[in-house]
Symmetry: C2
Subunit: 186 residues, 2 copies
């Protein structure tokens, strides 16, 4: 019933995270009736962002230039590094405004069932940073699920060395998590 190009568009949009079949249909029908210039601009904005964004060579964050602004920001505490699973986790932490150190993106969690071994993560890169940067404290901010726990424990053991403080961020009740979070990190 729908023209093929719209059906294809709905299917493609439906692959985006959080977009169900009805949302995909609504967006597709909106797009094909929106003026061409605006649709072209959307397509160009998508392509341009994808082309410009890369991973920071130091911390693994999403950035337009590598090293990223956080890694090159001199006012941030270079002795403190927060280890996160994904590049997007940096955003959540930055939004709280409570953390003034640097980051390290692990790129995943150890999960033998999914074939994710320690060597698939950016652990060697972290060890290299521990050698060359004046890092005195590592805060591990991985999830509290089984893989997050296992990865945190593995990581804490592996990077342990004299003079390095290693901690995990506290996960409390959502209502109080803002405070606990700041406590643990500051």
């Amino acid at each position: 019933m729908l023209p093929d190009s719209i059906t294809t568009l709905i299917a493609t949009l439906g692959q985006l995270p959080g977009i169900g079949p009805r949302s995909a249909e609504r967006i597709a029908l909106y797009l094909v009736q929106t003026e061409s210039a605006a649709v072209k601009q959307l397509a160009e904005t998508i392509l341009s962002a994808r082309e410009k964004i890369k991973f920071c060579e130091i911390c693994g964050a999403l950035t337009e230039q590598s090293p990223c602004p956080i890694c090159t920001e001199p006012r941030r505490d270079a002795s403190l590094v927060c280890v996160v699973e994904r590049a997007v986790d940096i955003l959540s932490i930055e939004k709280t405004g409570a953390f003034r150190g640097k980051f390290h993106v692990l790129g995943g969690k150890i999960s033998p069932l999914d074939g994710v071994e320690p060597e698939d993560l950016r652990i060697a890169e972290l060890e290299k940073r521990l050698k060359h940067e004046p890092i005195k404290e590592v805060v591990i901010a991985l999830g509290t699920d089984v893989e997050g726990d296992a990865t945190s424990n593995y990581l804490a053991k592996r990077i342990a060395r004299p003079g390095l403080r290693i901690s995990r961020i506290a996960y409390g009740l959502p209502a109080g998590s803002g405070l606990e979070f700041a406590d643990e990190l500051t």
Copy 2:
């Protein structure tokens, strides 16, 4: 904090219908981390749909070729035309499978406050069709809000002519609307 190209992408995605700020952020972060080929394909699918889709010169439906498949389908009842507000309304009616006539998209509802006058709608096009096509019945399927009512009444008066049956689709309780809908249209 976020690279400019991602911020711009989030803002652009946030203009799509049904996409709030959080969804926009989630989709943007997904897109910049998805492999380039898939992102290019998404952009191309959007552009291609926009380029291919036009409005049917007869009924005003969204279509890749004009006249549209419904207007050119010989098995559909050419004596029965359903008037809808927007091209997408055709889809809702087609999904019920209960209507075997043709369509006419009005392109809006009369709304003096929004500056929409009768001459802004595709009423003249409908009158032309009434003259040249073997139409015996017009079913007006506009919304039941104030503008929908006003437009339906205006339209019914304006297209009234001997031998033409004009009706409005019934709006009942949602639970029973499928039946009533079919009753009214068949």
